[in-house]
């Protein structure tokens, strides 16, 4: 959903040695912890009826968080494994058709409602975790694919010419020059995909795929705000945390010297 915005994000100004501001990095986790603390205090203050008590307890929450994280990790790993090689292949092939298809799909992908996609696939394939994984990966592949292509194509042609002029083979140019320089853009795509997956993963619960969506949708359909708020805040916290991890990855995996 956020791919073009991520792509527009201006490169962080490189000041001096570009040392990250550590204090600034800790604001996010602190806010997340504070939010969770408020949630805990709030639910403790509520009188829970039996349905609420059955959903809002440590055991249920723990297992759903675990499922959610597992689902997200599997999907993100699959997404990267599919999208990066595919993006490399498309940009190496210099095929104009492939480019147009991918970028066009990338724009269209934004408009595809995730809930529609996941329910459709469940109807066509079957309900369950497997289908949820397929739907989530299909949804998250686009930003990574797109950023991989954009990243590789964004490498200064002077550098690839210099590398080719030195006698590096096409493949060597890819691995020593193009891919390393595309890493920041690819990582931005991965971060987008990660957040997208955490955010869409609750929908998996609609088709029996488990995760925090179970509690969330229970709360919504039974009109029990205590339940939906609890799980809503948990999902939000997880998403903000995932985004923060993505930020860390972008800072530490970016090639040095840039």
């Amino acid at each position: 959903m956020t791919a073009p915005i991520q792509a527009r994000r201006p490169a962080r100004a490189a000041r001096g040695t570009g040392r990250p501001r550590w204090a600034g990095l800790l604001v996010r986790p602190a806010l997340i912890v504070a939010g969770l603390l408020v949630l805990w205090l709030w639910t403790r203050g509520q009188r829970l009826d039996s349905i609420e008590a059955r959903n809002v307890n440590g055991e249920v929450i723990g297992s759903q968080v675990l499922e959610h994280v597992e689902l997200t990790l599997i999907c993100t790993a699959l997404t990267i494994a599919i999208a990066v090689p595919l993006g490399v292949a498309v940009s190496l092939s210099r095929s104009r058709v492939g480019r147009v298809v991918v970028l066009g799909l990338g724009n269209l992908g934004q408009a595809i409602p995730s809930v529609g996609l996941i329910v459709l696939l469940a109807l066509v394939i079957s309900i369950g975790v497997g289908t949820a994984v397929i739907a989530l990966v299909a949804y998250a592949v686009l930003p990574v694919l797109r950023n991989t292509m954009v990243g590789i194509e964004g490498v200064d042609p002077v550098l690839t010419e210099a590398a080719r002029g030195m006698g590096l083979s096409r493949l060597a140019v890819l691995f020593t020059v193009e891919l390393p320089l595309a890493v920041p853009v690819i990582l931005a795509g991965v971060r987008t995909a990660l957040v997208l997956t955490v955010a869409s993963a609750p929908l998996a619960a609609l088709i029996d795929g488990g995760g925090l969506g179970e509690g969330l949708f229970t709360g919504l359909s039974l009109n029990r705000p205590v339940i939906s708020v609890t799980f809503g805040v948990l999902v939000a916290a997880l998403a903000l945390f995932a985004d923060w991890l993505g930020l860390l990855a972008e800072m530490f995996l970016r090639p040095k010297g840039m």
Binding site: A14, D156, V158, L159, E161, A162, A163, R164, G165, M166, G167, L168, S169, A172, T176, V177, P180, L181, P255, K256, G257, M258
Partner: protein, 332 residues
């Protein structure tokens, strides 16, 4: 001699080399034939768009010729694997093209690494090349963006020399630097070339740079047609036609003086007089003239070296300088 000078230059020969792009009526390069002697700097000079860069890039096959043959040291380069072929040719471009994510040592050491050199050998080579191009050894650990433009271009030259090629191609290598830095880099490069004796094809649109850098100059017309191919002195003395003369422009005589080293001039014995301006024998007749005009003296003392304690070996007066411009330069 240590490694950088290990491999001497090889002769490059272009025969009827033509480049035709599909869908264009005129060829970009038309039937160029020239011999670039081993160990010399040959400058291709001409207006932008005349095909000089295309001609150069056909030598390392970044652009494939449509027809004609190119040989280096007698081997037809079109029969070689392009990547293998390029590894034997140093390539320096105006935009430098240092890899921003690699330290200087990794930029310079990239080709040796690809060629499978041992780590210690690469490290020694990097240190040697940094010294050769006049950069401090600790720059090896820096990233390109931490260097000035001039320093980056020295690294670019070092990187091109890393695998000890016999031939170097240089595409306006100093074009993006300010005049002072450029002058400096040019001088350093000439010093370096005296050591390494590679065969160098040097592309520029700046005729003064061509005069300074070239052992020979090829003045090119559009489609890379050779208007004149000769030594700088010969071109200055006898431009082949108006086209070549237009490059020399005004001040052709002064340009000749700039090519004439004082050591090649017959000096008069040193007079006894005190307080005359002094100039080193390494300087040019143009420098001597500058000094005379600047100091308001029509005689200068010529010394064997730079510095105040150098020995005076002769003298030079205004009339001798003017005679040199008229006679000497035309027939070196």
């Amino acid at each position: 001699m240590p490694e950088p000078t290990g491999r001497p230059g090889e002769t490059i020969e272009l025969t009827d080399v033509t480049k035709r792009y599909p869908g264009q009526a005129e060829p970009a390069v038309e039937a160029v034939s020239m011999v670039i002697p081993a160990g010399e700097v040959v400058v291709l000079v001409g207006p932008s768009g005349c095909g000089k860069t295309t001609t150069m890039k056909m030598i390392n096959r970044l652009i494939e010729p449509t027809s004609g043959t190119i040989t280096i040291g007698g081997t037809d380069v079109l029969t070689l694997d392009p990547d293998q072929h390029r590894r034997d040719i140093g390539y320096v471009i105006q935009q430098i093209g240092l890899f921003p994510h690699k330290r200087i040592e990794d930029n310079i050491g990239l080709m040796p690494k690809v060629l499978g050199w041992s780590r210690s050998r690469i490290r020694a080579r990097v240190a040697e090349l940094l010294e050769l191009v006049g950069l401090p050894a600790d720059y090896a650990r820096r990233y390109p963006r931490e260097l000035s433009g001039g320093q980056q271009q020295r690294v670019g030259v070092a990187r091109a020399l890393a695998a000890d090629p016999s031939v170097m191609l240089m595409d306006e290598p100093f074009g993006a630097t300010d005049p002072i830095t450029r002058d400096h880099l040019q001088n350093e490069f000439l010093r370096l070339q005296r050591e390494v004796r590679k065969t160098i094809v040097f592309v520029t649109h700046d005729f003064d740079e061509a005069l300074k850098m070239g052992d020979r100059i090829a003045v090119l017309r559009p489609r890379s047609v050779i208007a004149q191919y000769d030594t700088p002195e010969a071109i200055l003395a006898a431009p082949a036609d108006d086209y070549v003369a237009s490059f020399i422009g005004a001040g052709g005589q002064l340009k000749k003086l700039a090519l004439l080293r004082l050591r090649d001039v017959e000096l008069a014995p040193a007079p006894r007089a005190e307080g005359l301006p002094r100039i080193a024998v390494e300087a040019t007749a143009r420098d001597a003239l500058d000094l005379m005009l600047g100091e308001g003296s029509d005689v200068v003392l010529v010394t064997d070296d730079f510095g105040d304690d150098a020995t005076v070996i002769g003298s030079l007066d205004l009339r001798m300088v003017m005679g040199a411009a008229a006679g000497e330069a035309g027939n070196p």
